[in-house]
Amino acid sequence: MNVIINYFKDIFQGVWSLIQGMRVTGYYFFHPRQIVTQQYPENRDKLVMFERFKGEVIMPHDENNQHRCTGCGICEINCPNGSIEILTETVINEEGKKEKRIDKHIYHLSMCTFCGLCVKTCPSDALAWGNEFEHAVYDRHKLTKVLNQPGSSLKKEPKSTAKEIKA
């Protein structure tokens, strides 16, 4: 007799447990407000990335088209996969002295692993993280970028200011 009672008990418990699960899915079916889908291209305007989002490495320029990169090459050393190349040139400045200056700060986005060591270790805070995340291009050569804008120059400022900004 016990066998038969247990048999039916099993059936009822099984069906009950199934109903429990169906309650959860049924709840969500009738509560479409809880849908979490983000409709990506449409919500571009509202889509704000977090300020620390690591989209790509950029070199901020101010309104005078000046950046802070001295071309020291520390970011290049600190990059684990060689996605940064720094080309420097030697120019003669106003005082008539030879000066080493950055020519091109080349950044291979296709090789970047977004570890953040270049931004972290840059002594003059020339690099920062950009929020751009739509990196898809049809030609992979387009992923190689020159970070310093054409015609830009080094911003001359006391070192303490740079530190303050960082802090």
């Binding site: 418990q13 447990s17 429990q20 977090f50 620390r52 989002f53 684990p80 977004f114 972290k120």
Partner: protein, 376 residues
């Protein structure tokens, strides 16, 4: 013994066995793992795992890289416990340099590790449900995991591969909103976790699918080195957090979830229980993060003194051990990662024998494999 006489290396088609390849392109191996199965009808008679499809030589690459740069490679081993992997290298370097990291760093590392564990277990839960055919679990798990990833993204800008730690501390401080958001998440997830139980844990079909499948005895678990939730499901008390506490784990109360059945069901229960435990740990720490520096004073170039260093860390999948041989240079002479999945996976060739194909999928899901961690 040569390979010809080996019992494991039978050629395909020999002995009229039904040999079938599960993977590398298979939905339930969660990556490019290849299992060569010998079948008798639905029964699996032999499982031969083949790995190495995404072997990248992280150990060899690391020999050429300074320590801060190794960290970003560890992300890519077990990408679901990236922060714990980072932590392992950092702890090894810190203990070698005998640097005392600030309390704040310890607290933050512990909280982040537990958040990462939660995220990892959520992903495991939804993938496990999907392995068993309940596709809805996948979306619920990912929905909740998204909240954790948002916390990560706000604090350090990345969602999966963080590279957030440096030897000596963190790369930068946590976001001011961090505590608020974590507390919000805990409140949210405490409501959602019981839903998981309703949907899957209690389900009679699910229970029948997982109970008594893939029995792994405690002795075998130890001998195979099956650690993490998979090992604890067999009663192997292998929680490094408990037995060799690091970071702030000695300051928190938590139980090591142990089940002695050793089947898929036990492993499932351990993980679900661990989610509750992780939330418990975070709750103890989140309000008490001490003020202070986010990193210890470190030299610009980190050189470990010559010697050998060994650091064990509990990741979401088990015990990760880093073994560093340093010759005093800024790069390691040899670095070895003892990854949890490597040992966890090969046990399949033992416990997978005698179950059905569907069980093998459940079993593989319960071991929670991340293939890049095996291949390194």
């Amino acid at each position: 013994m040569s390979t010809e006489t080996s019992t494991l290396n039978l050629f395909i088609g020999e002995n009229d066995e039904y040999i079938i390849n599960m993977g590398p392109q298979h939905p339930s191996t969660h990556g490019v793992l290849r299992l060569e199965l010998a079948l008798k009808g639905e029964l699996v008679e032999r499982v031969v795992p083949h790995v190495g499809y995404i072997h990248r030589g992280i150990e060899k690459m690391s020999e050429k890289l300074p320590y801060p740069q190794i960290i970003h490679l560890t992300d890519r081993m077990d990408y679901l416990s990236a922060l714990m992997n980072n932590e392992a290298v950092c702890l090894a370097a810190e203990s070698a340099l005998q640097v005392e990291v600030p309390e704040r760093v310890k607290y933050v590392r512990t909280i982040l590790a537990e958040l990462q564990r939660l995220a990892s277990h959520q992903l495991w839960w939804c993938a496990f449900g999907m392995d068993l055919g309940a596709l809805t679990t996948f979306f619920y798990g990912l929905r909740d995991r998204e909240k954790i990833l948002d916390i990560f993204e706000e604090s350090f800008g990345s969602r999966l591969l963080h590279s957030y730690y440096l030897p000596g501390g963190l790369m930068h401080d946590i976001h001011p909103n961090f505590q608020k958001r974590v507390k919000e998440f805990l409140k949210y997830f405490r409501k959602k976790l019981p839903e998981y139980d309703q949907l899957l844990t209690g389900n009679v079909i699910f229970q029948n699918r997982v109970k008594g499948i893939g029995l792994l005895s405690k002795e075998d678990a130890i001998s195979y080195g099956v650690t993490g939730p998979s090992g604890r499901g067999s009663g192997f008390a292998c929680d490094v957090r408990k037995h060799q506490p690091y970071s702030a784990y000695d300051k928190v109360e938590f139980t090591e979830c142990l089940h002695t059945d050793g089947d898929t069901w036990a492993r499932y229960k351990v993980r679900v229980q661990e989610m509750w435990e992780s939330m418990h740990i975070i709750e103890q720490l989140i309000d008490n993060i001490p003020e202070g520096d986010y990193t210890a004073k470190m030299k610009a170039i980190i050189k470990l003194p010559a010697g050998e260093y060994f650091q064990r860390v509990e990741t979401a999948r088990g015990e990760l051990a880093v073994y560093i041989v340093s010759d005093g240079n800024k790069t390691p002479y040899r670095i070895h990662f003892r990854t949890p999945n490597f040992s966890n996976m090969f046990v399949m060739s033992k416990i997978g024998v005698g179950c059905k194909i569907a069980d093998l999928v459940a079993l593989g899901g319960s071991l929670d494999l991340v293939i890049p961690d095996i291949d390194r």
